[in-house]
């Protein structure tokens, strides 16, 4: 079996040109061969004791560090070296020697267990070399892509930067414009404002007059109604029939109470009635209404009647520019025609100024938004060379048997049932979370939709080198903690020089 390996050019292996099988105890790596000298007492590698050489690999543990039993399972902390010619050498724990399970691809760990192991080193080596080869190709291409990405990102960043500068410059102009237009607007609004105030005042006055007249009419009507005997006086007795006037609402309207209502008098004439009407009018129910079988309790019904009281009528502010509506108000308005034209003109001027002002403000806001967006984008950590920039504002999907998973890098991860149902947030962009020496290989998305009785959902995204940018798998290893595998050229490392890869792939030969 060694012959095949000897066919490989050996010149590559420094100082090992004389590749012959080096005699050494089972399980000892070549690097430690010199400590195991046939026939000479063996000193434990930790120096703790020295034992005769025949106690090396005699299936009894003499050294605390397990070094006397490199090839047996006797020591709990020992390790066994498999050469694995054709593949990669490895150390396995001593406990895996002769345990019936093939651990070393060269089968050397199962020399006495009855397990039938097949030497798979060459096959594994071949497969590994192939996959390394493939990986190397991917890495190579990926790394080229990465360079492009970096370039692109650089360009994009510059673009953004200059755009930002441009916007910021433009912003100053717009800000000035806004201020200017604000002044114009305020000036233009002055006449309109005055007109409006005038109008408002007249409206209030008119309302007061109407209110007063209505009240008077109501009072007169009430007086007539109350004055049952038409003697021109409303007496205590006459008033007493109006239980609704009961001042303490205890259900009985006593004479004293009525007298109180009448200002201490037994009866009042129309003019005195005017003085006391104020005490009554809020509660007074016209007898024509009172005939209605429901009494005080049905008060809400009354409100259903058309309200004639102008107080509740809104001031027609918004209608001020609408000429038709103005007709109604002409009676209380002595506006001349010129006045009216003036008013309309001032309105149109003001409106124009307002529109101009608002438009400029909108423009400013738009610029602000753009600035903010660019600043936000620029603030993201897109990697040491900004190679992850291209992922920004993109989304990638993977469909599994049950769900469609979607990742929008630097934004969020979500999951949607394949056959209908609402989307679940699996986390929003949190941070880079790889190991300290390789931070940009893991992304963490946090604070997704909460889980029942549990934490909010979160997703860990593992990035590996690939030519394509794609989601390769998703899983939920723990409840509500998702794991997503994602390939991107952006994590492809610079390939090692080809000859180094070659040596690596064959480094097993060192162990011949």
């Amino acid at each position: 079996m060694l012959c095949a390996q000897l066919l490989f050019p050996l010149s590559l292996f420094l100082g090992l040109s004389a590749t012959v099988e080096v005699q050494r105890p089972r399980g000892v790596p070549l690097s430690k061969r010199q400590f195991y000298e046939e026939g000479k007492p063996f000193t434990c590698l930790d120096g703790s004791r020295t034992v005769p050489f025949d106690r090396v690999n005699d299936d009894y543990c003499d050294c605390k560090d397990g070094s006397d039993e490199p090839g047996t399972a006797a020591c709990p902390n020992g390790s066994f070296h498999c050469t694995n010619a054709g593949h990669r050498p490895a150390f396995i724990p001593s406990s895996r020697i002769n345990d019936g399970i093939c651990d070393c691809c060269d089968t050397t760990d199962e020399y006495n267990s009855g397990a039938t192991c097949k030497n798979t080193c060459r096959e594994m080596g071949r497969r590994e070399r192939e996959s390394l080869q493939k990986l190397a190709e991917i890495t190579k291409e990926g790394f080229l892509l990465k360079q492009q990405l970096i370039e692109e990102a650089k360009r994009k960043k510059e673009e953004k930067q200059s755009k930002l500068t441009e916007l910021q410059a433009g912003k100053r102009d717009v800000e000035e414009k806004v201020e200017a237009l604000r002044t114009v607007k305020e000036t233009a609004e002055q006449p309109e404002k005055e007109a409006k105030e005038r109008h408002l005042k007249a409206w209030e006055e008119q309302k007061a007059v109407i209110r007063m007249e209505k009240d008077k009419a109501k009072m007169a009507e009430a007086f007539l109604e109350l004055d049952d005997d038409a003697d021109g006086y409303v007496s205590v007795a006459e008033l007493q029939s109006h239980a609704e006037l009961d001042p303490n609402s205890d259900g009985s309207l006593t004479e004293e109470e009525v007298q109180g209502l009448l200002g201490g008098a037994d009866k009042v004439d129309t003019s005195s009635f005017e003085n006391i009407w104020g005490n009554l009018k809020d509660k007074y129910v016209s007898e024509s209404q009172a005939e209605n079988p429901s009494s005080l309790e049905t008060a809400p019904e009354e409100t259903k009647e058309p309200v004639t009281d102008n107080e509740s009528e809104p001031y027609p502010e918004d209608d001020i520019g609408v000429e038709e509506d103005d007709e109604e108000e002409e009676d209380d308005d002595d506006d001349t025609h010129e006045d009216f034209e003036d008013k309309v003109r001032s309105f149109f001027t003001a409106q124009k100024a307002r529109d101009d002002f608002e438009e400029s403000e909108r423009a400013l806001r738009e610029i602000d938004d753009q600035v903010k967006n660019i600043e936000k984008e620029l603030s993201f950590d897109f990697g040491p060379s900004a190679e992850f920039t291209y992922l920004y504002s993109q989304c990638y999907e993977l469909t599994t048997s049950e769900y469609i998973y979607k990742i929008c890098p630097f934004n969020r991860v979500s999951q949607k049932p394949k056959f209908g149902g609402s989307e679940t947030n699996l986390g929003s962009w949190g941070s880079w979370a790889g190991p300290d020496d390789n931070k940009y290989t893991v992304m963490k998305y946090e604070h997704g939709t909460g889980c029942w009785q549990g934490p909010s959902r979160s997703t860990t995204v593992k990035l590996t080198c690939g030519k394509e940018t794609t989601v390769t798998s998703t899983s939920e290893p723990s409840r509500c903690e998702y794991l997503m595998e994602f390939t991107t050229p952006a994590v492809c490392q610079e390939p090692l020089p080809v000859n180094v890869v070659h040596v690596d792939g064959h480094s097993d030969h060192v162990e011949l």
Partner: protein, 959 residues
């Protein structure tokens, strides 16, 4: 797994009415108190006093080993039949049934392994007041007193145990319902009927004794009942006798009241134990002023500690103990049962007791126990001990011993609800190897199935189960897949269709197939009490029936109380029907039958060759014969870790040795410290399985940093090194019925200090373990029993005197454990990734010398997984003794035959003197010198590589 709470997203609609608002702890309102269980309340309302029962001595019949006589209730004139048996092995059986029940009452089958062999009973004396029977040895007598009826078992002048001494024998006889004709007659004709009855009944009684037809008997019984007068009428008027409603569930109770009760008094006893399963102390508490201990198999969501509520399993066996004697009472009844315990010394302070003693006014301490069951008959086995080990043997002779598990089942089990898919399983298997943590089993919970259809696989996540199983097999590991007894009602599901077409489902009260909600949604419940059904179920485990199964796949039965999410108390309606029996009558044994049928299935699939391994959550007396149990859905809390000791100790006392708790706690996420401590404790408990709820974060042992991974690895490695010891303990339990995990008092019955100890225990007799079960602990105090004993710290080999409380400083790596001086423990110190990998590895003997300089132990070896040890005597059983400087290995089973590749690599003597030389003599007579090392500070002598085969005869001489 197996919370009654499923993923809310999926089945909130099912569970909403039951579980809303119970997220934090058990919702007690889901479960009955004694007051809410009408028979318990009725019974408990009857207070101790003069018994209405009288023994009719003239009816006494005595055959060689059986005595029968009739008892009459002077209030209602209903007659009972008392049967007394003297059983082999110092036991007495007391059976009481109605003399002429309207229809048969349920007598629990399939629990006793045989008709218990009897021994002759003889009458020593007899007069009109009673009969005295001899129980054989030690002047033991059984005294039957006639008026009022009571039984006393005495030894010489000492009363050991009395039955009905408090007059609480109550037997609700079967009767016709009020609105039946008989009742109408009685209420209309009233007193006239009364007069007729006295004539009629005495006549028909004679008829009955002549063995006349059942029809007449029925008339008589009906007549008697109808005419029994006020007392009976009152009984019937009590609410809940013919119908009972709890929450939204109505129990129709077509048979009316059927409960039974009997009291037992133990003079001189202050300590009683047993009647699991309860999350409570080892020593049973008095129940005055609270609820009795309840035995009713229930799926209790997030159970609470330290209360007498029922849990998943029930073993109606109670042990009494004092310094002189240990006894047991086995109440063979499968219906809902409550046990009241009272004590005349409870509440007395030590000082009070001392004062009594000094003043000589001390009344004898006494513990009174009252059993109440809803249906069935009184069938009691009184185990008279006198030693704890005798009680264990006695109980084992009745219900059998612990099944001898495959060796692998004693290894570490890695479980989670759920390992998501095959890739996940492969990853966990690999993770164990990457972190060098030994493991024998990976488990799959309900999510592995296709829509909770047991015996199937999720087509996406577990599409190639055999590949997965082969992958584990290549690592010499095994898998457990869950099979619950609720079957999805789905006409496309083969298992359901077969059960339905064979008419194997439990029936509802109206005769249709009973259906309830469980994991799959609507589900049927196979009638496991039916032997035909069990045979069919067992056949389902055949490799060609259970697709994707292989020989390294075993089974887990969960939810077999049975759990019914929408049933009363989350279980089956009591008026559901198992053939002619009501669920009420069989409830507590249902889970045992599920376990049994499954275990039989695993045996059959291998043609009877391989030992099964089945874990169950519900259990009953006798469940030990079918496999392992665990303490159900506990929580990741320190209190739950702590209670796992008394819970398993209690099970050990009643025959169930293969017990464990979910390591880490099922609900909630454990702190790292708690997880590590739980692994350390679990490594020294019989069933060692880590498990976690679906909603908890992952907690495989390597997820908590290298330091904690190392601590957990070390705990698991200690377990594996001791596997030969564990295996031998289980062999012993299987052969003799002695528990594996023992309360201290079991081995030190005269040392009253041990009676309350539940934070440490013994494995076998020789290994004392006091795990750390409290947070942040820096030290603890362990009691080392035995005034004339010495104990060796298994980690440091330091020697400590027995009969003292030892202060032990602890660190995060501490698992305080001590080997008893005088014992020899065998270990395999070459720990590998699974037990199978260690099969041929050599042994190290730890010989811990007694103060007299002696030691003894045993070594048991077989193939680890088949019944050959039983069928072909293919095993090695050696006795190891050390005496006068000679250690020898001799054969304990001369007719056995087995060869092993294992040899003895090392012998370590603890507490030894330095010898001048050490010689090994083998069977061939050859003598060789053995090299040794001696540590004079620790008195530890290590022999280097004796190298003899573990199955051979040999001696080692220290000179």
């Amino acid at each position: 797994m197996a919370a009654s709470m499923c993923r809310m997203e999926r089945c909130l609609f099912v569970l909403l009415p039951f579980f809303l608002g119970v997220a934090q702890a058990v919702d007690r309102s889901n479960f009955k108190t004694c007051d809410q269980s009408s028979f318990c309340k009725r019974q408990r309302d009857i207070k101790a006093g003069q018994s209405p029962y009288r023994a009719l001595l003239e009816t006494m019949e005595l055959t060689n080993s059986r005595l029968t006589l009739q008892l009459i209730n002077d209030n209602n004139k209903v007659r009972l039949l008392l049967e007394l048996y003297r059983l082999q092995g110092n036991m007495t059986r007391v059976k009481i049934n109605e003399l002429k029940p309207l229809k048969p009452r349920y007598e629990v089958p399939d629990v006793l392994i045989q008709d218990p062999p009897t021994e002759p009973l003889s009458v020593v004396a007899q007069d009109e007041n009673g009969v005295v029977l001899s129980l054989g040895a030690d002047e033991q007598r059984l005294i039957v007193s006639a008026r009022p009826f009571r039984l006393d078992i005495v030894e010489g002048p000492k009363v050991l145990l009395s039955l009905n001494s408090r007059g609480l024998l109550v037997f609700e006889h079967l009767r016709l319902r009020k609105d039946t004709i008989a009742h109408k007659i009685s209420s209309t004709v009233g007193s006239m009927w009364d007069r007729i009855r006295s004539v009629f009944s005495s006549k028909s009684q004679d008829d009955a004794e002549d063995g006349e037809g059942a029809e007449k008997t029925e008339q008589q019984a009906g007549g008697e009942q109808a005419a029994e007068g006020d007392q009976l009428k009152e009984e019937e008027e009590l609410p809940g006798t013919w119908e009972e409603t709890f929450k939204t569930h109505t129990d129709t109770k077509p048979n009316g009241p059927t409960s039974i009760s009997l009291d037992f008094s133990f003079p001189g006893v202050e300590h009683v134990y047993g009647i699991p399963e309860h999350a409570d102390t080892l020593k049973l508490k008095t129940t005055d002023g609270g609820d009795p201990y309840r035995l009713y198999n229930l799926d209790v969501f997030q159970y609470e500690l330290h209360n007498p509520m029922a849990l998943y399993g029930a073993v109606p066996v109670l042990l009494s103990h004092n310094t002189e004697r240990t006894m047991g009472v086995f109440w063979l009844n499968a219906a809902e049962t409550w046990v009241d315990i009272s004590s005349n010394t409870a509440g007395k302070t030590v000082f009070g007791k001392m004062l009594d003693f000094v003043q000589g006014s001390s009344e004898t301490p006494q513990t009174d126990v009252r059993w109440i069951s809803e249906a069935g008959i009184i069938d009691v086995f009184i185990m008279l001990g006198p030693k704890p080990s005798d009680v264990f043997s006695q109980y084992a002779s009745l219900t059998g011993t612990q099944a001898f598990p495959p060796l692998s089942a004693l290894g570490y089990h890695q479980c989670r609800w759920n390992y998501n898919d095959q890739e996940d399983v492969r990853g966990v298997d690999q993770g164990l190897d990457d972190h060098d943590i030994p493991c024998d089993f990976i488990w799959l919970d309900i999510e592995h199935t296709d829509g909770k259809r047991y015996f199937t696989w999720d087509p996406n996540k577990f599409s190639q189960p055999k590949d997965m199983l082969q992958g584990l097999k290549d690592k010499r590991r095994n898998l457990v897949a869950i099979v619950d007894p609720h079957i999805k009602v789905d006409s496309n599901f083969k298992v359901h269709n077969e059960i339905r077409s064979r008419n194997f489902y439990v029936k509802n009260k109206d005769g249709g197939d009973y259906e309830g909600w469980c994991w799959p949604g609507n589900a049927g419940y196979p009638d496991f009490t039916n032997a035909e059904m069990r045979a069919w179920w067992a056949s389902m485990f055949a490799y060609d029936q259970y697709e994707g199964s292989m020989e390294n796949m075993y089974t887990w039965n969960d939810m077999n109380e049975p759990s019914v999410f929408n049933g009363p108390e989350v279980t089956m309606h009591k008026d559901a029907l198992h053939g002619s029996w009501e669920h009420r009558e069989v409830h507590n044994i249902y889970g045992l039958y599920v376990h049994r049928a499954t275990a039989e299935g695993l045996i059959q699939r291998s043609g009877g060759v391989e030992r099964p391994f089945v874990l169950t959550r519900a259990f009953f007396a006798g469940s030990q014969r079918y496999g392992a149990v665990w303490t159900g859905d506990n929580a990741a809390e320190w209190g739950h870790l702590k209670i796992s000791l008394p819970m398993c100790l209690s099970l050990g006392l009643v025959g169930i040795s293969f017990c464990g708790a979910d390591v880490g706690g099922f609900f909630k996420a454990p702190s790292t410290e708690l997880l590590v401590r739980w692994y350390q404790a679990g490594a020294y408990q019989p069933f060692f399985r880590a498990h976690a709820h679906l909603d908890t974060p992952r907690r495989e042992p390597w997820l908590f940093g290298p330091e904690n991974t190392a601590l957990i690895r070390e705990a698991v490695r200690q377990r594996y090194a001791l596997l030969p010891f564990w295996y031998q303990q289980f062999y012993n339990a299987h052969r003799t019925g002695q528990p594996v995990m023992r309360a201290l008092w079991v081995e030190y019955p005269e040392d009253s200090v041990t009676f309350d100890i539940e934070d440490e225990y013994l494995l076998g007799r020789d290994l004392l373990v006091h795990p750390v079960t409290e947070e942040g602990l820096k030290s603890l105090t362990a009691y080392l029993p035995g005034k004339r004993e010495v104990w060796y710290d298994v980690h440091t080999f330091k020697k400590h005197a027995g009969g003292q409380s030892l202060y032990i400083p602890v660190t995060m790596s501490s698992i305080p454990a001590f080997q008893r001086g005088g014992s020899i423990i065998t270990r395999k110190d070459r720990v590998r990734r699974s037990s199978a990998c260690m099969e041929n590895d050599p042994y190290t003997l730890y010989v811990a010398l007694s103060p007299e300089g002696t030691a003894e132990g045993e070594l048991y070896i077989d193939d680890g997984h088949t019944f050959s040890y039983e069928k072909n005597k293919a095993f090695i059983h050696r006795r190891l003794t050390f005496n006068d400087g000679v250690l020898s290995s001799s054969n304990l089973a001369l007719d056995s035959q087995f060869t092993t590749a294992s040899w003895v690599e090392k012998i370590i003597f603890l507490g030894a003197r330095k010898p001048a030389s050490v010689t090994l003599k083998t069977a061939g007579g050859s003598e060789t010198r053995v090299e040794f090392e001696y540590d004079s500070a620790l008195e530890v002598l290590s022999l280097r590589k004796p190298g003899v085969n573990a199955g051979a005869d040999w001696t080692v001489l220290l000179r």
